[in-house]
Symmetry: C2
Subunit: 548 residues, 2 copies
């Protein structure tokens, strides 16, 4: 029996491991919603499109692929979260319904349509918007090409770890596939002789190096290269720092893990060790303002650099015909006649006992306490601001940290934590959010109740946009104070508790971590101007940079 | 003293009547936020960008111009509400911060930037997105053109009633203007002989007509033409129906107001009268699916048609050189040797006493009760679904009804009502929202508390996406039930009361309308499948259309 376009798309997604689709229904996509309902893939109803995008993104980071489904036009509310997925290379597939081509041919003035482009065949406005924030796009308006088009964009998404966009006019959802000629999408390959030459160079650099260090970024995670990288590092005893977005690129419990390097925003001992190394091996990071600690990172001339955006670079020359993935995978195959003897305190050795005092809770002490209670099965999802900066030094397992650390969008924390909990039911997710970011997407907790998901959400309530206060203070940085702990009563589930002291926080955190079955919202009452050490270094660097 | 670019922009906005800017701060726009703080224009902090867009849109519809201010990249969350403003011709100015051109020239990898387009001079990704949903755009990166650019896009916005986009890289906010040559933006004008010919035709058509009827749309409101239209109608005693999006194009208390015509979705007596008329004068509406009652509207061949999108059309010929506004304004100048004697019940004559019963509240009875208590100073802002359809027959004053009646986006209701209350402090705003739409933007009520705004919000809780149930039912149409009346406790102000019977609703509504100083949230508990008569006609028409 010939499959319909909608059915084929769902079966294809299921065959590559998709188990959830996050989204909202709408009339142009309703027939597809019905197909999902009758399919093993589960539809997760979200409260609003932008949160659905965040949730698909979180699942993509953890499981390698995430899917969001929206209706046409009004669904462009998802644009912000998809821009995040684009910038931070998260493989998300966006499926959008659209007006039927039969309807459009009769009248162009249809609800949800924008028609800015005034095309005759279809409204392409939404497609043009998604072209700006996705890596590939397909409009499934032809049964003879639909199968190839679906495979093309999914292939692109999985190969490049960038969001892709699929639009189905509603009269094509049930239309049977009519494939003419199946196109095979072949994996790109590196040129062998280029790869060999580059690896030879790596050998010669490392032979001469006194102390190299690896700086691992998010692309190690996205391309699932952590164990390859670790084999290389272990073989020669090379310490690994991670970037902020690349946090947990390897397990932070590993003795070779140095800590998070972010230039002048790093912990001083990490910064000192990193900057004294005579060879920097920078793998899978994009040297953005935030990743480099507002450009304060000090990189040696003696550099081995690789990412998907700029390719492979050694010293000052590049290798255009090597794929990032191949380079990382093959690093472990080099033959080096030495092993480095490092002198540094591994990140995990910093784990100290926490003795709570009956004193007002501060950002620093909150994270010290959290650190103490973290277990290997915890996943931390943060919003930006001190939720992110304060989390930098937590000790976490591989791929157990999600944050908008480059794009820096507010609102990812709560929906991201909920989706992470759904994606990884055996683990326990801790979401950390500032009050400003939480107000944007807090109500997605209703979705946690509906699907019985039980993340622990810690709200750092510093009464406003705390990150901005040191930059330029004004009343625009204040927000309306909410009674966050009443949210469970609104959404019909979960528990909310406010804490003001270290002892209260410790007690509630222990309870939250040992209770499963419903979400826990812990509101920590903080001073307006209480900042983590990283945040203080960040503000100082921003001001220093502004004076340049 | 020479003004800075930021200062000039603010002064210009103030000089044309802007008193509020809705938005959220962010580091790329922070210096502009500071300028607003020091300016008579008030910044209204919203919880999330999409709501800020809705609020600016509501103010634009009521006061003729609305302004939203966002930061770069993450601010594209506003796209959905701006698409609504574009489709429904609401004059909104979006101001966005951006990375400094000095920063970008040093490094393209900056937080909040998308860089999909990989340009050398600046990240133009966000600009490309806004090109799809705004009518004109300006990037203020040159002090010699900034003044002209500001004036160009504001002129465009006011003349065309379409949203426009202004982007300021942050290093240009404080830069002094350096104007070379000031450009005057002249108003477009109609060709006099064209206009005369068209009006002569109108005269000749009306001379022969037995019974004409005007069908007035939203462009009458946007271009402030209500009184011009009314003078024409009164002179010859021509009844006026409105479209759905054009509801309150004239005061619905006026004896010439027939009611809302929407093809087969209309009240039967309005439909009957309208379709028996032998001349249809269709002014300022776009004949979309929803406006035409899913294409069930029956338009006579004997037609006088005018809107800004398609121009002026009489029978089957068009007048390309006449402006919509001029045509409407000059209709009142024609000389006709007759007055029509209509036989219809004016819309306002339908106002009946309401006697509440101790029976479960229904959509129909809720709107009957609301109708009874409405006063001339009420403004109604609705979300879509039965919040919109149920409101169609309310009797309201001129320009006192706001809804996403063409674009049909969910979530406009609550933020729209809050902004309407701010824009029109002397009136009392009633927001009517379904539970699905309310969940998207309910928490903007925090903004009502912060700025002491007191709309009455009626939540029609029918436990899901009610409009979709008759189209294609499934679990995706269910949503998590909230205890909506607990929201005031979360946001720290307002009162929430649940009602289940007619008597309860009447009592609480009376109380809400007679209490000022805080918002009132009335949650009406409805049956899942309780629909207004209009909604029933809508569903039937959709199904009928699908079978074609």
């Amino acid at each position: 029996m010939t499959l319909s376009i909608g059915q084929y798309l769902l079966d294809k997604l299921h065959s590559i491991g998709v188990r959830h689709i996050y989204g909202l229904p709408g009339d142009y996509v309703l027939k597809f919603n019905k197909l999902i309902e009758e399919h093993p893939i589960k539809f997760i109803n979200c409260t609003i499109e932008n949160s659905a995008g965040y949730m698909a993104d979180a699942e993509a980071r953890l499981l390698g692929l995430g899917v969001a489904c929206i209706t046409y036009g009004v669904g462009i509310g998802i644009a912000n979260s998809i821009a995040q997925a684009f910038v931070e290379s998260s493989p998300v597939i966006i499926i959008s319904g659209a007006a039927g081509t039969d309807e459009f041919s009769k009248c162009h003035y249809l609800h949800h349509l924008i028609n800015k482009t005034q095309q005759d065949q279809a409204d392409i406005t939404q497609l043009e918007i998604f072209k700006q924030i996705t890596g590939a796009q397909a409009v499934l308006n032809d049964p003879t090409t639909a199968e190839n088009e679906i495979n093309r964009v999914i292939h692109y998404c999985l190969e490049n770890k960038k969001p892709v966009y699929i639009e189905i006019p509603r009269n094509f959802i049930h239309m049977p596939l009519d494939t003419c000629k199946k196109i095979e999408f072949v994996k790109k390959e590196s040129e062998n002789s280029s790869l060999k030459e580059a690896l030879d160079e790596v050998v010669s650099i490392l032979q001469k190096s006194r102390q190299p260090v690896i700086w691992a970024g998010h692309e190690i995670l996205r391309h699932r290269l952590s164990s390859d990288l670790l084999k290389f590092a272990e073989e020669y005893n090379i310490p690994i720092a991670s970037s902020l977005l690349g946090k947990t690129a390897i397990s932070e419990h590993h003795p070779l893990f140095l800590g998070l390097y972010q230039g002048g925003m790093s912990r001083p001992e990490v910064q000192q060790f990193f900057e004294k190394c005579d060879c920097h091996i920078i793998l899978g990071t994009v040297l953005s303002d935030v990743e480099t600690g507002i450009f304060s990172a000090k990189i040696k001339e003696n550099i081995i650099f690789a990412n998907t955006l700029e390719g492979i670079r050694i010293h000052h020359h590049t290798y255009p015909n090597i794929l990032f993935q191949d380079f990382i995978k093959d690093l472990k195959t080099i033959k080096l006649q030495k092993k480095f003897s490092n002198q540094f305190h591994s990140h995990s050795s910093r784990k100290l006992p926490f003795i709570s005092r009956n004193a007002k809770i501060t950002v620093t002490r909150l994270f010290e306490c959290l650190q103490y209670y973290l277990k290997k099965d915890n996943i931390v999802v943060t919003d930006i601001g001190d939720a992110l900066f304060g989390s930098e030094d937590l000790i976490l397992d591989e791929n157990s940290f999600l944050a908008s650390a480059y794009f820096e969008t507010l609102g990812f924390g709560a929906p991201g934590a909920i989706a992470a909990q759904l994606a990884m039911p055996g683990k326990r997710v801790i979401g950390i959010v500032g009050d400003g970011g939480f107000q944007m997407t807090a109500m997605e907790l209703a979705t946690a109740v509906r699907y019985k998901l039980d993340p622990v959400i810690i709200v750092l309530n510093n009464h406003g946009y705390g990150t901005e206060r040191p930059l330029l203070e004004g009343s625009y940085n204040d927000i309306q104070d909410w009674n966050y702990t009443k949210i469970p009563e609104v959404v019909g589930g979960g528990v909310g508790i406010e804490v003001r002291t270290e002892m209260e926080f410790e007690k509630v955190l222990q309870e939250a971590l040992s209770t499963r079955g419903h979400f826990f919202l812990i509101e920590a009452e903080l001073d307006k101007l209480d900042f983590s050490p990283t945040m203080k270094r960040f503000s100082a660097l921003v001001h220093k940079n502004a004076k340049k």
